[in-house]
């Protein structure tokens, strides 16, 4: 092998090592994008996803000069025999004010089951200004057969809510929580996993 060829081979080896490193880096980056996206959404409120952890009430002066209409919408989804309802469809609050609204969950079946309410806020620019002090959406809920449960949502609108926002819509969609252990306990449900 001539010196020229040896130099060339060394160059090829270097290029391959570098591009393989870049490759692995990009593959890792793709997965890193998932948490990055979440962080990004939390900072910008991009997709209307609200923080899933409780936030402390910040005592600030209530902005009496404006009212914000907050609408509540509850939605069910396939596979969960629950009914979710809200005590009031909409309320008017001042920015800075702490408000509370009751949500009621009813299990219409005889079996116990797990469910989780996934929140979404519109307009998404309001997301970061909605502080949830306590919410059923922070964790999964368990309802026994025919059980009815009322849980309050305590929230506060930040004073720095942008001026142009006059209405905030909060939508909760109830989803069943599928869990191997939970399913095993639901052995009465003889058709679990069946599809129609």
């Amino acid at each position: 092998m001539s010196e020229y060829e040896a130099a060339r081979a060394a160059g090829v080896r270097r290029t391959v090592i570098r591009s393989t490193a870049a490759l692995i880096g990009m593959f890792a980056f793709a997965f890193a994008l998932v948490p990055l996206y979440d962080v990004f959404c939390r900072i910008t409120g991009l997709n209307g996803k609200v923080d899933t952890t409780a936030q402390a009430i910040i005592h600030e002066e209530v902005d009496q000069s404006r009212y914000i209409t907050v609408q509540f919408i509850t939605r069910g989804s396939a596979g969960l025999p629950w009914q979710m309802s809200v005590a009031t469809r909409q309320m008017r609050v001042h920015p800075g004010q702490t408000a509370e609204v009751d949500f009621t969950f009813t299990n219409n079946s005889q079996q116990k089951s797990w469910g989780r309410a996934i929140p979404s806020v519109s307009p998404s620019s309001a997301t970061n200004h909605l502080r949830k002090v306590s919410c059923f959406c922070f964790q999964e809920q368990l309802l026994q057969g025919d059980e009815r449960l009322t849980i309050p949502l305590v929230f506060q609108l930040a004073r720095d809510l942008p001026e142009e926002i006059t209405t905030i819509t909060l939508v909760y969609t109830l989803y069943p929580v599928h869990n191997m252990v939970l399913d095993a306990s639901l052995n009465n449900n003889k058709i679990a996993g069946d599809k129609i």
Partner: protein, 547 residues
């Protein structure tokens, strides 16, 4: 992945082997028959394999398109069920993108890059063989999903979650596997190309002396290395969502379906440029040759290509203007997308200025290259219209978009590939392609392409969504014309096959420099190029590009 050294060939100058062709090269006791092709590490043979594979896949993908067009020939469901229709549109897209256009460019790269930079072979010949043979495996697997219970993928080539996860047919796992294998093949091919270009250039050839095809492929290969792993990541997440109970894209488990689109288009938009940048390189070789004039603004072509590649990472969400992004994000992606028109425009202006005051002749490669410039520009114009976010609310997911990307990909990428094939066929086979037949192929293709895709602009503006198996009566005329055009275009591609077969078997003999104005290094080796070339590195003279 240990780097592999090129196999040593006996020192033998290319010219001596020229006349005898391949028979003389029985050194190594090379395997014969099918084993020769299975085990070959020669860049020219692998290049041919890639090109033949992509041609076959072009016809398979084309047949799927014709099934779609046949169903859309008139309103109503006549031939196939909506379920099968969705599988056809999906398969057409996947096959054309991953199995026809991309391998065709890789095939051209395999054949031409070593010849254009004066290298004896690719840097990693055995890896090269491996990356090719992954492709038939991947696409046999993908096509086999059509025969599985529940059918093949039916969620479009963009496979948006949750349609492609929670609601997907059972064969989706095989679809993911096939895409993984195809992705590995692309990545290995790209690494090989980068290693070849950076290290195997003839002594004295600097980066800025490289032909534009080599430049555009270098940038394309970097794009591939950057984004194919992202695709691999996305489909891995899908696989986990489907089979392992994660919920990356499932709202029920706290995931986000829109995240899928962000990730997909973060891969997908650079992917679009992967399919067009090498085409820029081919056209930038052909136009100066047949205008007998140096390419105008070689440096700005290189820079514009690099700029387009960089910008392609910043514009992905223009595919998502209607998913409900915040206003600032919409504006950001609108502005960045509009800016990408600038370097693209620079390229078109450069080509036109190269023609200006040239000495132009109209051989088949030139015809296709000129058609590329005109029709790709039309595709670029509709792209510019789509970049205007408010207007995109009307264009999005309609046939206007279908028209746009087919103008960019068919008379864009595919015409450039055909131009390249006609341009380099004399080098590959030693014969000129049959001029009359090639012209016939060109005119049929031009008429067919425009007949097929131009009415789609109108159908889209008038309100026809994409991916529907049946349509309202006011779209009937547009679809009728499109379908006739599609069959005409499809059938006229048989002429292309005929030209290639005839050219391989015989025809007017071509000299080493087959075209009068051609200047790059590949024209210094005999036609047909012997199996082994540049075993002694050529001395590169800075006759063009540089000073």
């Amino acid at each position: 992945m240990a780097p592999k050294l090129p196999p040593q060939h006996p020192l033998q100058h290319s010219t001596t082997a020229a006349a005898d062709g391949q028979a003389d090269h029985a050194h190594h006791a090379s395997p014969k028959g099918i084993m020769r092709w299975l085990l070959t590490t020669n860049h020219k043979e692998i290049g041919s394999l890639y090109l033949i594979f992509s041609l076959i896949m072009f016809f398979i993908g084309g047949i799927f398109a014709l099934v779609v067009r046949a169903e859309l020939f008139q309103p109503g469901l006549q031939l196939i069920e909506p379920e099968f229709f969705n599988q056809m549109t999906t398969m057409h897209g996947l096959i054309m993108v991953f199995a026809a256009v991309m391998p065709a460019f890789t095939g051209l790269a395999n054949w031409m890059i070593p010849l254009q930079i004066g290298a004896p072979d690719m840097a990693l010949p055995r890896l090269n063989n491996f990356s090719f043979w992954l492709l038939p495996v991947a696409f046999t697997l993908l096509l086999s999903t059509l025969f599985m219970p529940g059918g093949g993928p039916n969620f479009g080539w963009t496979f948006y979650a949750p349609l492609s996860t929670t609601y997907a047919p059972p064969s989706t796992t095989f679809f993911i596997l096939a895409l993984h294998i195809a992705g590995v093949s692309s990545i290995l091919g790209a690494i090989n190309i980068v290693a070849t270009i950076l290290n195997m250039r003839a002594p004295g050839m600097r980066m800025m002396d490289m032909p534009l095809f080599v430049w555009t492929w270098l940038i394309t290969a970097f794009l591939l290395i950057a984004v194919m792993p992202v695709l691999a990541g996305v489909i891995t997440m899908m696989l986990m969502d489907i089979n392992f109970g994660t919920s990356f894209f499932d709202a029920a488990g706290g995931g986000d379906p829109v995240l899928f689109q962000h990730l997909f288009w973060f891969f997908g938009h650079p992917e679009v440029y992967i399919m067009i940048l090498p085409a820029f390189g081919i056209v930038s070789a052909i136009i100066p040759t047949f205008a007998r004039k140096r390419l105008f603004g070689y440096a700005s072509m290189v820079y514009a290509t690099a700029a387009i590649a960089l910008l392609s990472f910043l514009v992905w969400a223009h595919h998502m203007f209607v998913v409900g992004l915040p206003l600032a994000a919409e504006l950001f992606f609108m502005y960045s997308t509009m800016l990408i028109a600038v370097p693209t425009g620079v390229k078109v202006f450069n080509w036109v200025t190269t023609l200006f005051r040239g000495s132009i002749s109209f051989e088949p490669p030139m015809l296709f290259a000129l058609a590329f410039v005109v029709l790709f520009t039309i595709g670029g114009f509709s792209g510019l219209m789509l970049a205007i976010a408010p207007a995109d609310f009307q264009y999005h997911d309609t046939y206007f978009v279908v028209a746009h990307f087919h103008y960019v990909l068919v008379p864009g990428a595919i015409f450039a590939i055909m131009a390249g094939v006609y341009y380099w066929l004399p080098k590959w086979t030693g014969h000129y392609p049959h001029e009359r037949l090639a012209q016939c192929h060109f005119w049929c293709s031009i008429v067919g392409v425009n007949l097929t895709f131009f009415p789609m602009h109108f159908a889209g503006l008038a309100g026809m969504p994409r991916r529907i198996p049946d349509y309202a009566l006011q779209f009937a005329d547009f679809n009728l014309v499109s379908s006739i055009g599609a069959f005409f275009f499809g059938i006229s591609q048989l002429i292309f096959v005929l030209v290639i077969v005839l050219c391989v078997r015989g025809g007017r003999k071509a000299p080493a420099q087959a075209w009068e104005g051609a200047e790059d290094l590949e024209w210094s080796v005999p036609s047909p190029a012997p199996l082994h070339t540049f075993e002694t590195p050529p001395v590169f003279h800075r006759s063009h590009h540089g000073d």
